[in-house]
Subunit: 330 residues, 2 copies
């Protein structure tokens, strides 16, 4: 019989301790976590980046990833976007009664692997159990260290900067949508850690004004956020936006716009014109960035307007996503 | 009409940004958070303590507190128990569709106040929306700095140490239970930040071997955890355990054992015999510690056995809580 999560696992007593042993300690074991203290003790010095994110995606497992991999990569990516090297991560689990413990263990194993790949250590955790139907939510909070000389931030975009996108749009979103609708196709989530790609850009000697991972709200939304924070206008070339044919096909059928679809392994880097080719070349040498392209530029000081030039010679305003989008993609 | 949370608030687009403005920015505003970056950038140096906790308590509002106050105090307390001075906190919200925005705002306001009282700054946040019936979960992750010379840890208990409890057992647990059962009584949650009390103990010059807040699983469970981690046995005096008469009354009616009931504003401090009176006096001078008492001692090296001497001259083994406890008290 499949062993399931019960309210007793959330009581703070022996059953919770058993679950801790059997699932979390088994996969997450490291010298900090094994001390089982109320808080982890870490040596941190310098400028630290801290980010928190909760993950509620359904289904929990999908082509190219799962909620656990997403929870580690998503938070580590937020740190990397500030130019930080992710070091530590905490995991808060909210488990619904009835969740199969085997499923939880697969997710924990996936998180452990993702953490190893990203070079982060899981240093603290917490588990609560609530009524429900076997669902699960994961919060991850990450801490990274920003090496000297890096100053990437939303407000850093400057006139003339090139906007580089690391790869194809919409993959994660289209994958989750396909899984929910029971569609048979080959669309895989792009769920991946972006920190190695970021390090390549810096190692190539490129200056970086701003970075953002393309998640909820899609490219359209994040460019609006950056343009607004920096007080600049931006211009995109629609023909330069990479989208996989199978994702484009799905979007065509469902009337979706890849500009507002979330990814989980793509980023934009806003770099000075002089460093654009350097950064692009570096990015293309990484598995996460092999489809990278320069998709537009910062046109000058402004009110945060993002304009897209269409292949037919027209242009239109790209606004933020308003309304629903697809819920629970991350 | 009461404005409610909808799936659109979780889309990452404009509606999410509106919610951010109206609720979170309004109450949490500070220079770090206002930058609206993917990650907060902080200057941290030295030994840092990091802790994460998710809060799922129902009802969301109760006598003496609410889920927001609990989320801030609970995580800040975990840091304080390591001797750390809490500095930063992140908040991850998982909102169920249908939650009244006014309720969310009351909770955010309460968190802001609790953060101010505890001297912590809310530096990063995230909001997700899921299907449901107006519920809400909050993850808080905290970072604190441990001043030089402090070395409190679960494994630090030594033979002869005094075990000091900061106040009455079971208040929070009994309050939540009363609210759930619709019982009319005056039992208030003890939900409070314990860091000021911890600072008083250190300021009095007491050495501290271990501290723990008495939460899920109750005093019985945490003493077992400390005894096991330190490889010592402990002895408690049942007659010395402070319990409010109204809480004792409720326990009597319902057959509950205060030893396994969770508090949210009580702690134990394990200190060398020579410093016991010093620490007790310091604790008693704080509002959180006015009912503090020495409740037992570390008897010597051992297998982690906790024995309780009863007022009638007998003794019994205090085990960890096994099984349900009361779910969702925090």
């Amino acid at each position: 019989m499949t062993e399931k999560i019960t309210m007793a696992h959330g009581s703070g007593g022996r059953s919770g301790a058993d679950l801790m042993e059997k699932v979390f300690a088994k996969h997450f074991s490291n010298e900090v976590l094994d001390r089982m203290e109320d808080a982890a003790v870490l040596d941190i010095s310098g400028r630290a980046a801290v980010s928190t994110d909760s993950f509620v995606v359904t289904p929990h497992f999908f082509k190219g990833g799962d909620i656990g991999k997403l929870a580690v990569c998503g938070t580590a990516n937020d740190l990397a976007m500030m130019g930080a090297v992710p070091k530590y991560i905490t995991c808060g689990f909210i488990l619904e009664e009835g969740l199969a413990i085997e499923e939880l263990e697969r997710i924990a194993a996936s998180m452990a692997k993702a953490a190893e790949d990203a070079g982060v250590r899981i240093v603290a955790g917490d588990t609560k159990v609530v009524e429900g139907k076997g669902g699960l939510y994961i919060n991850t909070t990450g801490i990274g260290i920003i090496p000297e000389g890096r100053n990437a931030g939303a407000a850093g975009c400057k006139e003339g900067d090139a906007i580089i996108l690391s790869g194809t749009l919409g993959d994660h979103h289209a994958c989750i949508l396909s899984a929910r609708m029971g569609m048979e196709n080959d669309i895989k989530s792009d769920c991946a850690f972006l920190g190695h790609a970021v390090e390549k850009i810096y190692a190539a000697g490129a200056e970086v004004h701003a970075m953002r991972d393309v998640t909820r709200g899609g490219l359209g939304t994040i460019l609006n956020e950056l343009a607004e924070a920096s007080g600049v206008d931006m211009e995109l070339e629609e023909s330069s936006l990479p989208v996989r044919p199978e994702v484009r096909g799905l979007c065509g059928i469902l009337g979706l716009e890849p500009l507002y679809m979330g990814n989980e392994g793509k980023m934009i880097a806003v770099v000075p014109e002089k460093d654009a080719e350097k950064a692009l070349t570096a990015l293309k040498e990484t598995p996460e960035g092999r489809d990278a392209a320069i998709i537009g530029r910062v046109t000058g000081k402004g009110e945060g307007e993002v304009i897209m030039n269409t292949p037919l010679g027209g242009s239109r305003i790209v606004d933020m996503l308003y309304g629903e989008g697809l819920p629970r993609i991350c």
